[in-house]
Amino acid sequence: MKKRLTIIMSYVMVLMFSASTVFAEAAEAVDPAKIDTGDTAFVLMSAALVLLMTPGLALFYGGMTRSKNVLNTIMQSFFIIGLVSIQWVLYGYSLSFGPDIQHLIGSFAWWGLHDVGQLPNADYAATIPHLAFMIFQAMFAVITPALITGSFAERMKFPAFAVFVLLWATFVYDPIAHWVWGVDGWMHNLGILDFAGGTVVHISSGISGLVIALMIGKRKGYGSEIMLPHNLPMTVIGASLLWFGWFGFNAGSALSANGLAANAFVVTHIAAAAATVSWVLVEWLYHGKPTILGAASGCVAGLVAITPACGYVSTLPAIAIGLAGGIICFFAVSMLKAKIGYDDALDAFGVHGIGGTWGAIATGLFASKAVNPAGDDGLFFGNPDLIVTQLIGVVTTMVFAAVMTFVLIKLIGVFMQVRSDESDEEIGLDIAEHGERGYSYQDVAAGSLSFATMLQPTEQLATPQWESETAQPRL
């Protein structure tokens, strides 16, 4: 019965998607004079870099959880790539960047990427194919919900998670993206500056994470059991991929291979570097040792903080933004969380929510028209209004994302179970949700003790050089 159902569903899906060829457009005449090859190459490569950030995030988070939950953590991020990419091209892009409705949302005019082709869209990026802009933005839509997974790690049921991601992408990410980046979006019109997504990506996901952490409750044993990161080298690999990919995230947001992109690239790197140093130093002062987890966390905090600012600030402010970002996020993660007592397992709020907020405020402080004439001047460049505007953006995003997340989780909770059973949490979600183990080697139960074969009488294990002749193991 299950097999037949699977076969029928597969046929239906193949039919559905081959039917879409009915809507294929005739080949467009592309005007080579309008499309800049350097810009196009740069944006496409940046899109690829941003994609790499999501599996990077999966590893970053995966290394910090307990080993029994590593696959579930990675799976959440990885599956989002598939889910949200499809949502994006079907209607997400249209809602985010499509023709404006009341400054709040885009229309469905571009569903299925209708009218999104090889010609540039002058409103968004006049020198690259519209498809290139769309796919670049797709990667942002993908990584944003993935960031939230850090808050509810190790205790959310996968079906509820998948439904939540789809709904959140549609009802939270797409509207906010439209407000900030869409043509005639109200935040855009207000003059809120968010170059690469401090508000759209980090504040929204951070606050949503906090809400879910509060609603779903703490992990079983939180506070009494010791829960340590099980694979910090994996976390560092993840952080490295994030740092690398962030160049696409920030510099690529210039949508052009030009000076502004170079500025964004440089300040991104410098802010990350400064935050790495500051987090390590603060932790060193407070707890006596510099840790790699601190360094990795610091670098991410710095990257988050510079994200909204990278197209508007220069290098020296970037150092300040990074230094402060590392310190602020360190305290958010170590003290705020402990004081208030919520279980934001992997600090999505502490690093992304708080870091993004600092970044938005920092933009209000350090933005300069000298860096980007299309931007604005901040407080330190003679304009105290920008910081007010930025705060409006921060607060509205937080309230909207928080309320929507609350509503969505409550709604989903009516139809399905959101939090894992206690017994599943105990065994580990890898086995409970996915029927897989992250690490089967050296596991008697998994039959993979391949290095320990039963010796025949004449065989002997290879002995290390320093062992004496008489010490031969025998069964």
């Binding site: 990161p229 407070y286 600090d347 004496s468 031969q472």
Partner: protein, 124 residues
């Protein structure tokens, strides 16, 4: 049938190679080694993750289980004490138990001949 005795040695992981050699020298070659976590008088150490301190009380070590009948128990104990003692907290413990019976699975032999090396046995 000679009396069989099980000896559990719980000590630091670093002592394993030395101990194996020394035991082989006194005629004990069969053993079972496990990785264990334990604590006695030790205080453990502190680990820090994202600003949160954790006191790790259980420390890694090894447990070596041997069953002897020909080799005197006191000889084994003296050897282990000589090798494993450093004078610092964490040297470990030795536990001694009587064994009711032993079986060599390959041949089905039971009793003291199950644990005595066949080569040594033929010398007796």
């Amino acid at each position: 049938m000679k009396k069989m005795t099980k000896i559990d040695i719980i000590t630091r992981s670093g002592k394993l190679e030395e101990l194996k050699e020394a035991l082989a020298d006194i005629g004990v070659t069969g053993m079972t080694v496990s990785q264990i976590f334990g604590c006695g008088l030790q205080k453990g150490h502190t680990e820090v993750y994202r600003g949160k301190e954790y006191n790790i009380n259980l420390l890694p070590g090894i447990k070596i289980e041997i069953v002897v009948c020909e080799v005197p128990v006191s000889t084994v104990v003296e050897t282990v004490k000589k090798i494993c003692r450093t004078g610092k907290v964490g040297d470990g413990k030795i536990f001694i138990y009587p064994i009711e019976n032993a079986v060599r699975i390959r041949t089905g032999e039971e009793g003291d001949i199950a644990i005595i090396d066949p080569q040594d046995f033929s010398k007796n």
